[in-house]
Amino acid sequence: MSKANLLDRRQVVSTLLANRKDVVAIGGLGASTNDICAAGDHARNFYLWGGMGGAAMIGLGLALAQPTLPVLVITGDGEMLMGMGSLATIGLQKPSNLSIVVLDNEAYGETGGQTSHTSAAADLVGVARACGIQHSESISTMAEVEAFAKAVHDVSAGPRFANVKIDSASLERILPSRDGTYIVNRIRGDLGFQPI
């Protein structure tokens, strides 16, 4: 069933990262990691090609280590569902510099478009809020995306969570680096850390 007025995932992500300044962006396994690459490769992009369910926790570890740095996790509904417990862990730690955006197409797009739990029952905004992430919202307009992108830079008011309903169009794949060590060390280098 197609729904009207769903947002375009690439437009959402490029808006989130348009004026990113010092943001570290973590893309969850699946199309989200391609989306952050499509918005422009960047030394502070953390591309995940595996570890499904781990994106939000990588964000938490980074946010706690660098409390003045805005950390933005951009992932999909399937990836978030697999790590749903991490919302409880984040709700307990309340890192004020962590933001999570779920690009929700209600489907496992990488594996054939099988419907996900968010298509009919699971409400991730409700889950996030019930886990103690008070700033949890459902986003359906680009104006709301723009407002969220601004809020990401306020590292004293998080954590925040947004679920963005996007259309399920399959887009051209923009493939980022698959070399995990390079990806991590590039971020560490940009943050000023020396190799071991």
Partner: protein
Amino acid sequence: MHARADAADTVPESSTLWPDDIFATLQRFDVRQVPYVPDAGHSKLIQRVLGSSTMRGIPLTTEEEGVALLAGAWTGGQRGVLLMQSSGVGNCINMLSLIPILRFPFLTLVTMRGEWGEFNPWQVPMGSTTQGVFELSGVKVLRASNAAEVPAVLEAAAAQAYNALTPTAVLLSQRLIGAKVFTK
């Protein structure tokens, strides 16, 4: 009620100090993030961590969260250690793939169940495969079986994990922590 066999007065006092030895080693290696799923065998160490001004104890809902957390911590310049019991190791398997891929320092301290005087048969299958799971996943395994060897084992584990980026698990044997006693 749950108790520990080593609570008996036959155990020398020094043997109950090994969690303090672990804490001291972690502090010396500048460990900052300590994700954990609680276990009775880790309770004293968790108390020390939660009372520390330099370490942050982070309760997890499931152990694989801790593997991903440590990857993020390292990316942000901090070292961590994952505390769990042997049952939790099975929960981590796919997430352990992040360690060789991202090449971050990984140290985990695992309190063992399902061995040495175990009462609960349900602990035995995972306890029996804990070491094998780690080794198949590329994590080196060290073991401490008595309080006296804890400091040296921890020192070696932390050194190879943080200095040589050798993923390392320390199994704290049930002989060390004491078999869990179930009383009505």
